[in-house]
Amino acid sequence: MSISRRGFLGAAGLSALALASKSTLDALGFEAAPQEPTSAAAGTRWAMVVDPRKCLDQGDCTKCIEACDYAHNVPHITNPAHEVKWIWKEPFEDAFPFLEVDYAPEAFREQPVMVLCNHCDNAPCVRVCPTQATWKRDDGIVMMDWHRCIGCRYCMAACPYGSRSFNWGDPRPAMASLNPDYPTRTKGVVEKCTFCEERLAVGQRPACVDACPARALVFGNLDDPEGEVRSLLRARFAVRRKAELGTGPAVYYLV
């Protein structure tokens, strides 16, 4: 069979185009299917269940926030543009923008919900970090290596939950008391919740979970079918923040 010069060039051009578009689509994040939480690595997948109702019953309680802030030396900066947050209250509407509840009473829409890093299965922040300062551990924790962070803030742009904060200045002056057991951060690095990996390592639960007087925060292993997290999720309906983005968040909110 003979092939004309023109035919050959045409076929070559088309195949090149096909190859290029595949990698372009990949680069833009259009993967075949967003990964759902199926990771069964090593039998541990840390996750959290939040019961917003129990939390609301406590009124203005901020015990979990205080415990976390002290445990990790999180600064208190009043300027909202420079705030540093690991776990905080977000108005319902902003935490769940896609749960469109048109006729929900004003009062309900503005109720605060506890939010923190979702430790996603398919974490966008991990994908964009140029130095691997943030990565996914086998137990599901999206870990941060502050020694490697160069402060480029790509991760902050990638995170759909606003779970990451940047230190615009030296955070130390904004700390009421310094916990000597945990390092602070410094100007020019990003920080976020780590599911208290330093406490998990010594067999303790996260500081916020221990501090909650209403047990509105439950922490456990999602891969353990008999565990507290799984039994709660079996017993009640739960939603996750912006799960439709395909990030696979590991923080569940009971309805």
Binding site: N73, R137, M143, D145, W146, H147, D170, S177, L178, N179, P180, D181, Y182, P183, T184, R185, T186, E197, A201, V202
Partner: protein
Amino acid sequence: MRDRYVILAALVLFFVLVTAPVWYARAAGEKAGGPDVKLPTQEKACVMPVDYMRTSHMDLLISWRERVVRENIRTWTAPDGTVYTVSLSGTCLKCHTNKAEFCDRCHDYAGVTPYCWDCHVDPAAIARSRP
């Protein structure tokens, strides 16, 4: 040939002036040497042989850091079999309680400023600053 003595005298003067700092230090009773670091009094030995520590403590610290942060292993076994918790503030500074007169003094002498303390806390310093 007439100015031989002038030249010799100038040479002697030059030599004395150039070496003056040495004579001055001799006279003042100072002796040259490394920085005067304050070693722990309670403890006998460091986590590794002192020669290794003197030259390579920064390498050890970096490997400790990788261990904890990236591998999530929080203990380290010394060559002599002692098991230590891996922590810069909690372990090194537990023995070397006086960071200012140990780490800092030698670093000032050597002209290095590790940036670790921008984040890591010197427990003694906050105990002092606490009212």
